[in-house]
Symmetry: C2
Subunit: 208 residues, 2 copies
């Protein structure tokens, strides 16, 4: 297909598509006789993924490049590591973490027996988030963190079924997309559950 059709199908403008090609996020189309480029379904899929990474996850173009590079690595044997790398490169926070926060995360990983790389996005994000808590909130007790970690384990078991195996590039892409697309769902549901619980506790206090 021509670039104009690629643009229509993905909702990404032609200048933006050209920008992604220049930045190496999207492969060039195959040259045609008429000095144009021919784009494939693979371009459509890749462009949709880039759009989600930009618009939903709000990632900068450089980080999107890292995610795509991790997804593009061949070799199904080490796929588990690649998922971790791909999801890990979704890290949002690039702020510095306090030594206390890093120590708290290390302790938590040890206590839960998690196989998590200290260089992964989740690890670094958590250390940065705890640093923010220390600054703005005060205490984050190990017990509080353990409670949240147990909820996170339950989420992971629910979201990644027992038989899961990264058999294909699509499986990897879905792992990354699932991580991103369900984040706003989880946060919105938590706020709704908070609203519900606040109202109930206030009502039950008023009636007792």
């Amino acid at each position: 297909m021509r670039i104009s059709e690629l643009s229509e199908r993905t909702g990404v403008s032609v200048p933006t598509i050209k920008y992604y090609i220049r930045e190496g996020l999207l492969p060039r189309g195959a040259p045609t006789a008429s000095n144009q480029a021919d784009y494939s379904e693979r371009h459509v899929e890749r462009l949709r993924l880039i759009r989600i990474l930009r618009e939903v996850a709000g990632l900068p173009v450089a980080t999107i490049g890292e995610v795509l590079a991790a997804l593009d690595q061949p070799g199904a044997a080490a796929m588990g590591e690649h998922v971790a790398t791909a999801v890990g490169s979704l890290a949002r926070s690039h702020g510095s973490a306090s030594p206390e926060a890093v120590a708290a995360v290390e302790e938590l990983v040890e206590a839960r027996g998690w196989d998590v790389d200290p260089t992964s996005g989740g690890f670094r994000d958590l250390a940065a988030a705890l640093t923010g808590l220390e600054e703005h909130w005060g205490d984050h007790s190990p017990e509080t963190l353990q409670g949240y970690a147990a909820v996170a384990e339950r989420l992971a078991e629910m979201e990644i079924p027992d038989g899961w195996q990264p058999g294909s590039a699509e499986a990897l892409t879905y792992a990354v997309l699932g991580t991103i697309l369900f984040e706003p769902v989880i946060l919105a549901l938590r706020r709704m559950a908070h609203e519900n619980r606040h109202k109930r506790l206030v009502r039950s206090a008023a009636s007792s």
Copy 2:
């Protein structure tokens, strides 16, 4: 204290403090004989809250104004509603939601027996998030949503203790801060739990 000390104690620059005062986010200081303004501990607290709402939650100034207005409403009797309003005004998404997504949220609220206002931030954010899922992912089954809702209920029970009552403005402020400051903690832990589970499943598939 003078504005320079207020700036030092909160890490917010003097021009930014003046901007917040002009925008009505921060009350003016009390005028002094020397034609300066005197700022109190209340200014320090309010300014720290504004900083978190901007830097951690990434809220626009207009939304911060709404959150602060909700926090400032007097009357402890209806406090539960005010928490909901204050937390609700944290809504991130202002995109439009599809009628299918709104119907799915209504169905979920009904099924869980939640007391949640359809105008609240959580409700609107969820409808917007489901609209994003429909566009980029495909299916969101009611069963999937129910699973996430159960996790959200567990979070709310863990985070808001049984005896909770909004006795003061501080309790309200803490409810808003807790909602914001623990969001990155939850998302980072989920990514870590995903990384751990991906690695384990791949290893157990390889060894069997």
